[in-house]
Amino acid sequence: MPSQKKNDIAIRMEDVGIEIDGELDSGSEGKNRKAKASPRAGGRNGKPATTEDEEEEEDQDEAPRKRARKKKASAQDSEEEEEEDDRSVKRKGTKAAGRKKKAVKEEEEEEEEQGKKKKGGKGDAKGKGGKEKGNGKDKKKKNGNSSSSGESGDEDSLSEGEMTSLKEEVEEKKKLIATLRNKPWRMKRRLKLLKECQAFVEEFEGALGKGKGRKLYAYKVMMAKKMIKFNRDFDNFKTACIPWERKIKEVESHFGSSVASYFIFLRWMYGLNLVLFAFMFGLVVLPEVMMGLPYGSIPRKTVPRAEQDRAMDISVLLDFGGYCKYSILFYGFYNDERTIGVLQFRLPLSYLLVGLGIFGYSLMVVIRTMARNSDEGGDGGDDGQFTFAFKMFTSWDYLIGNPETADNKYASITTSFKESIVDEQENQKDENIHLRRFLRVLANFLILCSLGGSGFLIYFVVKRSQEFANLDQDELSWFEKNEVEFVMSLLGLVCPPLFETIAELEEYHPRIALKWQLGRIFALFLGNLYTFLFALFDEVNAKLEKEKSIRNATIWGLNEYYSNYSSYHNTTDIPPPDIHPADVIRGPCWETAVGIEFVKLTVSDIQVTYMTILIGDFLRAMIVRFLNYCWCWDLEAGFPSYGEFDISGNVLGLIFNQGMIWMGAFYAPGLVGLNVLRLLTSMYYQCWAVMSCNVPHERVFKASKSNNFYMGLLLLVLFLSLLPVVYTIMTLPPSFDCGPFSGREQMYNVVMETIENDLPAFIGNIFTYATNPGLILPAVLLMVLAIYYLNATSKNYQNANLELKKKMQMARDEEKNRRNNKENTNQVMQDLEDLLPNRSLLPPAAEEEKPPPEIVLEKGSKSPKVAKRPGAAANGKGVNIQKDVSLAAPNPKAAVTHPPGPRGPSGNARGPPPGPARGRGRGTPPSRR
C-alpha cells in the first residue's frame, strides 16, 4: 500500500517535472521504507557528499563525526516513536502505538513532496537555497533511516572528540528550537523537527551533564516574551494617552487628512494654552487669590458706589462690567504691593514676567514645532516611489477585529486613495496657460477689491463707534453699541465664501488653493485686527488724558487733606483719609478697559462660531435631511445639500483667536482660562458637528505633512500681537490707581526695582553693562551673522538633498530601463553571436547554456524542462523565494488551471531576473518584446 502510493507520487512528480532532488529523495525514501534494515541505497551516493556536509561544521575530523551522526541517527529513531507519544500527550490523547509511525511518515513525505511539486511547478525560484535545503532535508531523512539500520549499540562509549561534536550539535539543535518559529516550513515539518530537536537536546544534554541550563533558558525565553508584550502594552498605553487621538483618527478616516489637520492643530493649540494657563494661573492668579487682599478691601477691588446698583445685572455682567470688571479676571484688580503673603511673593514682578514669558514660551514652542515639522518636510504629496503600491498592499491592518474599526479603516483607505488620486490627477493635468494666468490675475484683482472694501468698512465703523462713545450710553441702541463687533463678524461670515467662489476661477490644486484661501482671509482678518487695535489705541489715549486729570485732582485732593489735617490736628502723624473704598474717586484704568475689550471680542467670537456651526451646519443638515421627504427637488443632492467642513475659516478663526488671547492675556489674566475652556468645548463640539452634519469635500486632498503653513501664520500673528503689548509695556504709563504697576512711571520699572533692591550689586552692574548699546550692537551683529551662516548652510544641504533625490530618481529610472532594454540588447547580442563565426564574443553565455554537470549526471535525461529549470533558478537574486516556495500550500487550482506545459515559456516571458545571471537558460528570446 505505501509503495503503491509512493509510485503514484513519483509518477505525478514526473508529470509535473519535479526537480531532481525531490525525485531522488522520494525514490530512496521509498526503498528504505520497504527494506528497513538495508543501508542507504546507491542512489543516495550519487549525491555529492560535500553538499550534504555543507550544513554541518566542516572542520570536524571525519571519524568522530560519523559516530556522532550515528548516535544522532539512532536517537532519532527512537525519537520518532517518541514524537508520537508527545503528540498524543499534548493533544490529551492516549498513548499511541508505534504502528502509526509509518502512516505519519508517509503523510509527511507526501507533504514534502507536494511542497516540492509546488516548487517544481512554479518554474522559477528554484535555486541554490532550495537545493541546499533539500539536501538538508535529505540528510535528516538519511539519518533517520540509517538509524533504522540498527546501529544503536555504541551509545555508552563517549570519547572526548565525540563530546565536543555532540556539544556542538546540541547547541545547534538548541538554536534550531529557538529559531524554529521563524523557519518558513509547513507546520507538520516544524512540529516534527521540534520534537526531534527537543528529544535530542534532552537526551544529550543529560549525557553531557549540561541539563541545568535548560531552566534558565526557558526562563529567558519567557522573559523575552513578557518583554515583548510589555513593550506592546506600553506603546498602546502611550497612544491611549494622546488626547482625542481616536476622535481625530475617526474624523480623518471619513474626511481626509486635511480636515484632520485642523483638529490636530486645535489639539496642539489646546496644549499650548494649557501651559500658558498654568503659568498665568499658578504665578499670578493663584497668589493673588490666596495671599492678596480680599474683595472690598481697597478701592481697586471694590465696585464704585455709582455702579453698585447695577453691578449684578445680567446685562452688565455679560458686558463684563459690574462685579466682573472688579474681579480677578482683569488687570485692575491686582495690588501693587511689592511682596505679598508669608512667602514674600513679588506679585508685580511675577505679573510682568509672566506677561512677557507667555510670549517667550509661545515663540519658542511655535518655532520648535516648525523646525521639527520641517524635518518631515514636503508639502503633502509624498514623493515615495511606491505610493499607490504601499497603499494597496499594506494599508489594511490585519489586526483589526471589530466592525466599527473596520468601517473606519475602509473609509480611511478610500479617503487616502482619493487623496492620492487627486494629487495624481493634478500631475497629469495639462492646461491652457494663458487662460489660466488671466483668470488668476482676475481673481486676485477681485479679491484685492473686496479686501480693500472691507478694510474701509471697518475703518468707517470704528470711526462711528468713537463718535457714539462720546454720546450717552443709554441713548444708543443695541446695534449701535455693538456695531464694530457686528460688522467684523459679518465680514468674517461673508468674505471667506466670497473668496472661495472667486478662487474657483484659479483652478489650483486644492491644497494650494487652501493656502491661498488662508492667506487671503488672513489678510482680511489682519485688516480687521489692526483697525480694531487703532481704535483701541484711540480709546486708550482718551482714557489716559482723562486719567491724568483725575490723577492730578486726586493728588491735589490728598495734599489738601494732608495739609488740612496737619494744620487742624497739629500733628504729622496723619491717618489715611477715611473714605469707603467704593466712594474713592478713581481713574478710568485703561488696562482693564483694554482687557474687557479683548474678552468681549473673544466671547463674541465664540458665540458667532458656535452659532454658525449650529445654524449653518446642524440646522441645514436637519432641514436637508428631513425636509427632503416632502420637497419638490432632491435637497441632499441638489441645492442646499450638506455643508462641507470649512478648513480655512476654522484654522484662521483659531489663529486669530489665539492672537486675541496673546494680546489680551496681559490685561485680562482670566482670558487664558476662558480660552482653554473654549478650545476644550470646541474640540468636542466641532468633532460632533463634523461627524454628524458635514460631508467630505468633493475633492478630498492630502494635507501637507507638516502643518507649517498654519504654524507660519500663527507665528506671524504671534509677532503681530507681541508688538502692541510690548509697546504698551514699554511706553505707556500704567494707571495710577489700579493694577500691579500703579504708582510707577513705567511698567518695567518693577524689574529695575527688583534688581536694585533684592539682588546683589554686581548683578545690577552686569545688567547695566548688558544694556549698554556698545554691547548690544555687536551682539545683534553676531546674531545676524549667525543667521546668515546658518541660512547658507541649510540652503546647501537643501541643494544636496535635491541633488540626491534627483540621482535616486535617475538610478531608479535607469534600472527600470536597463531591465527593459536588457531583452533588446540581449537579442542584439544574440544576433551578433549568430553573425560571428567563432562565437568568442559571448563566452559566459555559451557556458551558461548547458546545465551544471552534476545535475546532468544525476537526472540523466528526464525532460528538457527539468534541464532548463535549475539554470533558470540559479540566478543569485537576493530574494529568498526558493525557501518559501517549499511550504506553499499546494494549490490544486493552480495545478489545474496552469498545467506544467505552458509554464516554461510563461516563466521566461516574465522577463530576465536581476543580477549577473541575466538571460541565462533562455533558449529563444521571448517574442513579446
Binding site: T94, V104, M187, V221, A389, D397, Y398, R819, R928
Partner: protein, 180 residues
C-alpha cells in the same frame, strides 16, 4: 533504549510548546462537535471556511476568504489543524518578513497564476474600498501600482517585484500580522 530519559522532555515541551495550546483550543472551539480532543491517530478533520471565516480575528478582514484559501491545503478555505496553525504562525509577529511577503503575495493573487495582474489589483482595491471608487479611479490606481512596482515592465507584478516593493514598505510588518 532511551525511553527512561525522555520522560523529562515534557518539561521542555510545556515551556516551549510550539503551537501554543491556545491555538488548538481556538481551533477546537470553532466546532467542538467535529474536532476531537485526541489527535493521536491523525483524524482527517477539516473545518469549513464558514467556520474559519467567522473567527473574530478574521471576520472583519476583507481578505479573509483569500487567507483561508491560501493556507488551506485544498485551496477552498477548509482547514485542517495544521493549516490553521500555519496560518497563525505566518501571521504572527515572529514570522520573518520574506515569509510574510510570500503569503501576502499569495493572498493578493486572486486567480492563483503567481502574478498580480490588473484583475487581481482591481479585486484587491475593490475589497479595500468597498467599491467606493469609480471605475476610472480604480483603473488609474491599478495602472499606477503596476507602474510603480513592475520592475520588468511586463504589465503585472511577479513575486520578485512584490518582494522588492514590500521590503520598502514601512508598515508592512506591523499590519500584516494577527494577534491571537
Amino acid at each position: 533504549g532511551f525511553n527512561s530519559t525522555f520522560c523529562t522532555s515534557d518539561i521542555l515541551q510545556v515551556q516551549l510548546s510550539f503551537p501554543p495550546p491556545r491555538l488548538f483550543d481556538r481551533y477546537r472551539d470553532l466546532a467542538p462537535q467535529l474536532v476531537p480532543l485526541d489527535y493521536t491517530d491523525q483524524p482527517d478533520v477539516r473545518l469549513p471556511y464558514e467556520l474559519i471565516g467567522s473567527m473574530p480575528e478574521l471576520k472583519d478582514n476583507p481578505f479573509r476568504q483569500r487567507i483561508a484559501e491560501v493556507f488551506s491545503e485544498d485551496g477552498e478555505g477548509n482547514m485542517t489543524l495544521d493549516d490553521f496553525l500555519d496560518m497563525f504562525s505566518v501571521l504572527s509577529e515572529m514570522a520573518p518578513r520574506d515569509l510574510k511577503a510570500y503569503y501576502a503575495f499569495k493572498i493578493y493573487d486572486f486567480n492563483n497564476d503567481d502574478f498580480l495582474c490588473k484583475s487581481d489589483l482591481e479585486k484587491t482595491l475593490n475589497k479595500l474600498t468597498r467599491n467606493e471608487l469609480t471605475e476610472d479611479e480604480v483603473r488609474m490606481v491599478c495602472e499606477k501600482v503596476i507602474d510603480e512596482a513592475d520592475l520588468d515592465n511586463d504589465g503585472r507584478l511577479s513575486l520578485e517585484d512584490f518582494q522588492h516593493m514590500i521590503v520598502r514598505a514601512p508598515d508592512f510588518l506591523s499590519t500584516f500580522h494577527i494577534r491571537i
